[in-house]
């Protein structure tokens, strides 16, 4: 069961809660299930079958580089935040 920390803009689709728990084996599956349960979320997360440019998915403590294919372990925390750029 992934523990999803909802971005602020997605909370309105889930009744204003900060987090939701969702069973999923991959990040892609998780987003599909979020959309099934809370219609409207997906367009904020995915463009052209990939994570939106400028968006980082944090799985556990670190940003995934595997995109939607990222495997999810049981009870892992998932966050969606703005991707960083450095100097």
């Amino acid at each position: 069961m992934a523990h999803v920390f909802l971005p602020y803009v997605l909370r309105k689709y889930a009744g204003g809660v900060e987090t939701v728990d969702m069973p999923a084996d991959t990040l892609g599956e998780l987003i599909e299930k979020l959309e099934d349960n809370y219609p409207g979320m997906k367009r904020h997360l995915i463009v052209d079958d990939a994570l939106k440019p400028g968006l980082a998915a944090i799985v556990g403590h670190t940003a995934t580089r595997r995109g939607l294919l990222q495997k999810l372990t049981p009870d892992v925390e998932v966050h969606f935040i703005k991707a960083i750029s450095g100097g």
Binding site: H44, H61, K82, A83, G86, G87
Partner: protein, 756 residues
């Protein structure tokens, strides 16, 4: 999942201080920079820049320029292909091709003074300059949008008319606010209501330039076969390749970018400005090589500074010295196009504290100033200034010791950052303890000379550090030396810090390495040198490549000794099997019968690099008659994970601190009402020099990064962040006033102390 490592502790190469491989070339002047590039038949380009900060282009007449003898081509935005409205991952940055193309050369409007509107190519530099001066541009001048407040006002002129803002997930047209986003957790209202003290302040800051010495430059050849070759001063050759290809409408594989040395970047050389212009001018000039070099005025007026803006900060505390909640609005000037460092600022702003409730709202706001770009820990310095100024005020009002307060509230493993993400192992507490034990912190401030007063400031800051893609190739030469190719631009000695990590694996002296940075056709995709990623990420590619090379050599040894690979062991540069031994460098000369040269390559695509924290102490004096400030003692404490080359790491910390001190006390884009930068030269844009600074004392704390086998964390960026508040606090203590506007320059100090 992410690989973690048990950190190695017994080093033979890592942690030493060998001379850098590029030292001789650089001190003798033989190193080739972008400005040194020559090619047969080279011609020069020049550009026409807008004298207005906001205007519609009515017409561009290039006929007089084309009549001039020696002119080969002129270029306007009409010569560019229509770029796709798509965002491109370029290194760690996201590039909007269409908007960045318009930033390189204005389409129908100019968005800041100095915006390029046309370009020419001519037989020599003087002819190009004369031709540029003959291009006539008619403008319909529009009202200048000068700052975030005027940009957000109801009657503000709209700078980018087709922009649809994303305001907390809602599409909003006719706006200068490109994005509003929010991170929030916990119950803020309850937390603030139950606090013993709530302090709310708004801080402001101006745009700041990176101030690299070498100006932007580019040389390009668009050959008859459609192949484009580029030389350009950049922090990332692959970023130049992808951005140039996207803007001129060719496949990335059609562009080859050659590496040249870089005379400073600090984040400002992650964007392209000239390479697409040089390429298109070359195409229109029959494939001649075209070279462009900016002057200093253009660098200031038209290349990305760090964003200015303002930050509202509200913090609640209890009498027991614990923070109850924090709430902030970060409003950054993105410049003429969207895309400031406000996202990174949001990641950083509360990262030094363990907060039970937090809200961060970020605003990315267009103004008629140059498009902002990365500058060393982009967003973190402004964020640190905002929170540390308020924390300092809270400590004073509540009678808390400012160091103990930070220790009591410090973020640690498991703490949620303001964006909700939990930290892995971090070293902030160790840095704060190092401050407590430091000679500087234990020493009294000392007495100032007559007419001056002294103050001390303490501030902490955070930077995420980056990972991403990197590649490293190794080849063991017959003579036992190693040729190493890696893709990262070397802006701080990274050739050597990367080679040292491979040398540690191979047991070969790093002096026997020959590191090179080849062109983009000759090495695997490697991200931009930025985000403090290079020693960590490309270093890990080198580490992996070295282990692959060892595996390859074990097979060769097994071949030579007619034994099984599994029976060959390797340690400290020596292969052993069945009582026989051979050193790796001796083995190098015996490889031909076993299959020829031994090579290896490794690419990585890494998640975050393990976070960096810095805590700085600043003592300075204020001349009460003039407001002039002098830093008299400065100590920078930083968790570096593992200092691969301690001198380089120390140099990064010192350099960052000095840049931060300049940001705190002197530097600013001084913009007039019509949107012009008044201080567009190094004479007037006051950066600190070595004569202004005391020795920056450094204390490097080593809390190993679990994501790297040697514990390496990024080093280069976070040291620029704490000085802003540390210095401002010191001025505050010295003068008995608080300062919330940067820079804390002599005029502001006099205003505060004497009423101006």
């Amino acid at each position: 999942m992410v690989a973690t490592y048990e950190t190695k502790t017994d080093y033979k190469v890592v942690g030493k201080t060998p001379i850098r491989h590029d030292a001789l070339e650089k001190v003798t002047g033989r190193a080739v920079y972008g400005g040194d590039v020559k090619a047969p038949g080279l011609i020069w380009g020049d550009v026409v820049r807008s004298p207005h900060s906001h205007a519609r282009i009515k017409s561009i007449d290039t006929s007089d320029a084309l009549k001039l003898e020696g002119v080969f081509a002129v270029l306007t935005h009409d010569d560019f292909p229509i770029a796709e409205e798509r965002e491109l991952e370029s290194g760690e940055d996201v590039v909007n091709l269409k908007r960045d193309q318009a930033n390189v050369m204005a389409d129908d409007k100019v968005h800041y003074k100095g915006h390029v509107v046309a370009a020419v190519a001519a037989v020599d530099r003087n002819t190009a300059e004369e031709a540029a001066s003959r291009i006539k541009v008619e403008y319909d001048v529009l009202q200048n949008v000068s700052d975030v407040d005027s940009a957000m006002s109801d009657d503000a002129p709209i700078i980018l008319e087709n922009l649809v803002g994303d305001h907390l997930g809602e599409d909003v047209p006719n706006t200068n606010i490109a994005k509003i986003f929010r991170y929030e957790f916990g119950n803020l209202d309850d937390a603030f209501n139950n606090s013993d003290l709530v302090v709310e302040r708004t801080v402001t800051m101006s745009m700041i330039h990176q101030g690299y010495i070498e100006p932007h430059n580019a040389t390009a050849i668009w050959a008859e076969d459609g192949q484009i070759t580029v030389w350009s001063s950049t922090q990332g050759s692959f970023g130049v390749r992808s951005q140039t290809a996207g803007m001129v409408g060719v496949a990335e594989s059609k562009v080859k970018v050659n590496y040249v040395e870089i005379g400073g970047g600090f984040g400002g050389k992650t964007k392209v400005y000239l390479a697409p212009i040089a390429a298109l001018l070359s195409k229109k000039s029959g494939g001649r090589p075209v070279k462009l070099v900016m002057d200093r005025t253009s660098v200031f007026e038209a290349t990305g500074p760090a964003p200015g803006g303002k930050i509202r900060m509200k913090i609640g505390v209890n009498k027991d010295g614990k923070i109850t909640a924090a709430d902030t609005d970060i409003m950054f000037e993105s410049g003429g196009y969207p895309g400031s460092a406000v996202g990174a600022a949001a990641n950083c702003i509360f990262a030094c504290y363990d907060l039970p409730a937090s809200r961060i709202t970020g605003y990315d706001i267009l103004v008629n100033k140059p498009k902002s770009a990365a500058y060393r820990a982009p967003g973190s310095p402004q964020a640190s200034f905002a929170i540390e100024q308020v924390v300092d005020e809270i400590c004073e009002k509540m009678g808390f010791d400012k160091l103990q307060f930070r220790i009591d509230n410090a973020a640690h493993e498991g703490t949620r950052r303001g964006d909700g993400v939990r930290f892995m192992r971090i070293g902030l507490e160790e840095c704060l303890e190092a401050v407590k034990e430091s000679e500087h912190w234990k020493s009294p401030l000392g007495e100032a000379p007559p007419g001056k007063t002294r103050g001390r400031g303490l501030a902490s800051a955070y930077w995420m550090n980056g990972g991403g893609k990197s590649t490293c190739d190794l080849m063991l030469q017959d003579d036992g030396t190693v040729t190493m190719n890696e893709g990262s631009a070397d802006i701080g000695g990274t050739r050597t810090s990367i080679a040292m990590q491979a040398a540690e694996v191979l047991g070969i002296p790093v002096e026997d390495f020959h590191p090179s940075i080849p062109d983009t056709d000759s090495i695997g995709w490697t991200g931009t040198t930025g985000g403090s990623r290079t020693t960590y990420t490309t270093g890990l590619a080198a580490y992996n490549a070295a282990h692959k090379l060892v595996d390859e050599l074990k097979e060769r040894v097994a071949n030579l000794w007619e034994t099984e690979v599994a029976k060959v062991s390797f340690q400290d540069g020596v292969f052993t099997s069945n009582g026989e031994t051979i050193g790796i460098q001796e083995l190098a000369g015996k490889l031909d019968p076993t299959g020829g040269p031994a090579t290896s390559t490794a690419s990585v695509n890494l998640a975050d690099a393990g976070n960096a924290y810095g805590v700085h102490i600043c003592d300075l004096e204020v001349d009460l008659a003039t407001g002039k400030t002098d830093v008299v003692r400065y100590t920078a404490v930083q968790d570096v994970g593992k200092a691969v080359h301690p001198q380089y790491a120390e140099g990064q910390v010192q350099g960052g601190a000095v840049q931060g001190i300049g940001w705190a006390l002197n530097e600013e884009y001084f913009i007039t009402d019509d949107g012009s930068m008044a201080n567009k030269s190094f004479l007037d844009y006051r950066m600190p020099t070595s004569l202004d600074m005391p020795m920056i004392e450094t204390i490097m704390v080593e809390v190993p990064n679990p994501l790297h086998p040697y514990g390496v964390r990024g080093v280069g960026e976070v040291p620029i962040s704490p000085p802003l508040s540390a210095a401002a606090q010191a001025v505050g203590q010295a003068t008995g006033k608080r300062y919330f506007d940067l820079p804390v320059k002599p005029g502001r100090i006099l205003e505060a102390t004497n009423g101006g």
